[in-house]
């Protein structure tokens, strides 16, 4: 899983039926020092995350589909938690 910052929301009217009612977020993966890492990805939201929150993102198809609660959903990323804190000892 990756640590990421929610940087926006995405609205789509015409989409695959498995996306019905799903919230789409634009998230920017970050390194531990919070510098951006790679390009932002679209993730479905299963926990009610908001813009600017630090979140945990799973980037894997089946796991993301499970987070969404729908088998066979054409997704590859999901927000599965809102991060309270990260403690690193190194």
């Amino acid at each position: 899983m990756q640590i990421a910052r929610v940087i926006g929301t995405v609205v789509s009217t015409q989409k695959h039926q498995k996306f019905e009612g799903a919230k789409l977020l634009l998230v920017q993966p970050m390194a531990l020092d919070e510098t951006p890492r790679g390009i932002p990805v679209l993730a479905v939201d299963s926990v009610g995350a908001g813009v600017r929150e630090k979140v945990l993102v799973v980037i894997e198809g089946r796991a993301a589909g499970e987070a969404l609660g729908r088998k066979g959903a054409p997704v590859d990323a999901a927000v599965i938690g809102i991060i309270d804190s990260v403690d690193v000892q190194e």
């Binding site: 899983m1 299963s46 926990v47 945990l56 894997e60 796991a63 938690g81 403690d87």
Partner: protein, 88 residues
């Protein structure tokens, strides 16, 4: 699977219900010589690993298998604590 050092943990109160009770650790993958290699990541812990320990972890949906039948939404999981490793 890959070797990694556990360098921290993540506290997440609001989360997918299938993550309840599962520890989330920050991993730094390491090369065979013990040097850091690649990006840090967060993984679920299936073996009771602690910060500072060397572990091996699996990537992909298989990371949720230790928690069967719960469908844990994860893409990485610690599946073993390394006692030591030897190189030829």
């Amino acid at each position: 699977m890959q070797l990694a050092k556990v360098i921290g943990n993540v506290v997440v109160t609001r989360k997918d219900e299938n993550l309840t009770g599962i520890k989330l650790m920050v991993l730094q993958p390491i090369a065979a010589d013990g040097s850091n290699v690649g990006r840090t990541l967060v993984a679920v812990d299936a073996v009771g690993a602690g910060v500072g320990e060397t572990v091996f972890f699996v990537r992909g949906k298989e990371a949720s298998f230790p928690f069967h039948p719960t469908d844990v939404p994860t893409d990485a999981g610690i599946v073993g604590i390394v006692d030591h490793w030897d190189l030829d």
